[in-house]
Amino acid sequence: MDTKRCVFVAVGGQGNLLATNLLGQAALANGIPAVVSEIHGMAQRGGVVESAVLMGNVTSPIVSTGEADVLVGFEPLETLRTLGKCNRESLVITNLQPLPPFTVSIGQGVYPSVDEMLELISKKVSKVISLRGNDLAEEAGNALSLNMVMLGALIGSGAVGISADSMKEVISTSTKKAFLESNLKAFDLGLDAAR
């Protein structure tokens, strides 16, 4: 398999670290060498959390600017903020539903219009998949399953050589039983949204 560098970015609490952990496990289960990197600590304090999965013949655990094959953004402002990881040929998969930072909430900044952000992103990379991730998570029965929606979208895009069945197998064995049904449903909704 060719080297694939996937960067995930989200707001603390949106669950991207679980998503990249599962993706890494799925890669391993498929015999694809993979490393997963994460920045811990500020997750629950509302800051930005970035993680990455690098698959194939690569041992570096982080993705330099311009080197992401895929950027998966759980929040549109953060997708835009992290866009420097991408190059012209990158695929960007982004949630369209904002989670304004508290700096905006207290009037210390203006949240750009989502349409404007999407337009900027679309001009800079060759392929964009956008979805209303939070709505899909609600539809799946659990607002917190946004990460499964986004993971589904990544698999659905075909950008990484991991099958939906294989990914769902990992979700089934590595996530809490109580959330399994909504997780799998969220995954499928994301999968369909990307195809």
């Binding site: 993979a34 600590g41 930005v48 570096s60 311009g66 420097g84």
Partner: protein
């Protein structure tokens, strides 16, 4: 069963670097583990914490890193294999015992895990702790992959017992917090009790004894040097004339750079895995075999300087460079693109890289700094203190979640350098100026190193207020217990030490214990503290809501909402508290009922009493 107790040698698992170290310790038969939590090392003791509830492994969260190392030293002197973990600044705290434990040596193998943090993701500095090996004379191993995080931990214990010296395992954030495939080895049985054998003329480091011990330490260095020359992870590969030297995570960046640039046949690659003692002869042979050398090491030019010295001693004059090539500097972490560019520049090959998208036309994006959680009691305490003391008072602060109080609009932090500095610097500032001083410190930090400063304040008659923010846990690093925590909900039996008893025991006469959600009473206590002529302590007690939820101690309360008719849009709530549960919609303030925990602080701040419990 904890996943790291999986008894399947040969099985491959995706493990976090820190998990790999813990597994390595189990495969080495570790009996005893101590620590003070600190990012990026905290997940190591977290594994031991849970494993110690399933096996006879002894594990404790110690009061601070100095204590952790001393407790560990006691166990190692009894012949038990011991692991002590900490972040890089933690080794500063443990440096005193470290330096002389090197003289006294250990009986059971001891591995000290030191986690550096280039780019200071979660630290107050990015010091390069490779110097500690050189300073102490202790061997230092540096893994470069998740597999090596495990394997070199096992090797470290063996090396430690062969030399009778603690061995430092040095990691960085990008190794601790990376998940990679790890092939498991065999778990090793361990003993739970050892024996301290009396040997005062080796273990009591009075000058007459230490003079002999120092000589012995230097002899051990020679023994360690021989081992380093043959160390498997000091590996040289390739037959080219272009030498590249790398350590730690940089090994991966450099390897990938060589592959990407297609120059593998031109390169001779030296991975340094045992970085102290450096394998001198191996290095000299390497230098003789290449035409120029690029050293890829984050932070300080430690290896670069040593390689140059060895070259000089051996009449070798080839170029050896690291810092200053391309973007390679002493600041912050490296990344694959930067290393590839540096390799390309240094050896004069075209660099292949994909151009990043041009972001120059982006509008200014609003920042997303971390913030205290919705309902965090620290927010309430800061509000109360600021109401009484104002914005001109000097607020030394300390290290924990509450340090986020430096951000506007809270802006209640003026000086931090290390754990415990808030108390002692408060002594200094209040003595050296006429300004009012209120120091803030957390509960875990207070035990770590705030007590000595408080005793100083009492004994030397300093006059200021210390606020101890007691949220019942060591929050920022992941809710570990500390001496005053009720650990029962976490499933362990630990004796609680009362902060109030300690404060009074230090001789403080003016002590106020407050519940920060009750703003008026808290403000009254702060006023009384301000009036007191001497050292006054306020203990602000309220359980961290995240910790309470995780340990099922959370008392559910109705979320609050803004009554838009009563609200006159003063904005005190959002401007003074900036709780993340609040948001603006069409210029009116709303509260997100999914985030609000019902602490009612904003309700007490509102001058119109317009914030009320939500009706169903």
């Amino acid at each position: 069963m904890h996943k790291l107790l999986t008894d399947s040698p040969g099985k491959e698992m995706l493990l976090l670097g820190n998990e790999a170290i813990a597994r390595g310790a189990l495969e080495a038969g570790v009996s005893f583990a101590t620590c003070y939590p600190g990012t990026p090392s905290s997940e190591i003791p977290e594994q031991f914490f849970r494993i110690s509830q399933e096996t006879d492994l002894y594990f404790e969260y110690s009061t601070n890193e100095k204590v952790a190392l001393e407790v560990g030293a006691g166990a190692a002197e009894c012949g038990l294999r011991t692991m002590v973990t900490m972040k890089h600044v933690g080794l500063n705290v443990a440096a005193d015992p470290l330096m002389t434990l090197a003289y006294a040596g250990v009986k059971g193998g001891m591995v000290i895990v030191n986690a550096d943090d280039p780019s200071l993701f979660s630290s107050q500095n990015e010091q390069d702790n490779r110097y500690y090996a050189r300073l102490s004379g202790l061997p230092m191993l540096e893994p470069a992959t998740t597999q090596e995080m495990k394997d070199m931990t096992v090797e470290a214990f063996e090396l430690s017992e062969e030399l009778g010296l603690p061995v430092i395992l040095r990691t960085t954030t990008r190794l601790n917090h990376v998940r990679g495939p790890v092939k498991l080895g065999e778990l090793k049985p361990f003993k739970t009790k050892g024996e301290f054998v009396k040997n005062p003329f080796k273990l009591v480091t009075v000058p007459a004894v230490s003079r002999v011990l120092h000589k012995e330490l230097l002899e051990k260095y020679d023994k360690a040097l021989a081992k380093s020359e043959a160390w498997p992870e000091n590996r040289i590969t390739g037959e080219g004339a272009w030498g590249i030297v790398a350590n730690g995570v940089g090994v991966n960046y450099a390897r990938d750079a060589v592959a990407d640039l297609g120059i593998a046949d031109k390169v001779r690659f030296f991975q340094v895995g045992c970085s102290w003692p450096l394998p001198k002869q191996k290095i000299v042979d390497f230098l003789k075999s290449v035409e120029k050398v690029l050293v890829v090491e984050e932070l300080e030019p430690v290896m670069e300087t040593d390689f140059k010295a060895l070259a000089q001693e051996n009449g070798i004059t080839i170029p050896i460079k690291g810092k200053g090539v391309g973007g390679l500097s002493r600041l912050y972490e490296y990344d694959p693109g930067m290393v590839r560019q540096a390799v390309a520049d240094y050896f004069g090959v075209p660099s292949k890289g994909k151009a990043a998208v041009d972001l120059s036309d982006l509008p200014a994006l609003p920042g997303r700094p971390p913030n205290l959680c919705a309902g965090c009691p620290h927010r309430a305490t800061y509000y109360a203190v600021k109401k009484v003391y104002g914005t001109e008072t000097i607020y030394p602060t300390d290290i924990g979640c509450y340090t986020l109080g430096v951000l506007p609009p809270i802006s209640m932090a003026d000086f931090v350098i290390c754990m415990g500095s808030s108390v002692s610097s408060g002594c200094g500032i209040s003595e050296a100026s006429d300004q009012k001083v209120v120091s803030f410190i957390g509960d875990s930090t207070f035990f770590h190193s705030g007590i000595t400063g408080l005793i100083d304040a009492v004994h030397n008659n300093h006059k200021f207020t210390l606020v101890i923010l007691d949220n019942g846990t060591t929050a920022m690093t992941g809710h570990q217990p500390h001496p005053s925590v009720n650990a029962e909900p976490m499933g362990v039996e630990l004796t609680q030490v009362s902060i109030e008893d300690v404060v009074r025991g230090c001789g403080v006469k003016d002590v106020h214990v407050v519940k920060p959600y009750k703003l008026n009473k808290t403000i009254e206590a702060v006023k009384a503290s301000m009036e007191y002529d001497g050292i006054s302590v306020i203990i602000s007690e309220e359980l961290c809501p995240l910790f309470a939820k995780a340990t099922k101690q959370f008392r559910k309360a109705k979320p609050f909402q803004v009554n838009l008719e009563k609200c006159k849009d003063h904005r005190d709530c959002i401007n003074l508290l900036a709780c993340p549960a609040m948001y603006l919609k069409e210029e009116r303030v709303y509260i997100d009922k999914n985030l609000c925990i019902g602490c009612a602080v904003c309700a007490q701040v509102c001058p119109e009493n317009a914030i009320l419990p939500a009706r169903d």
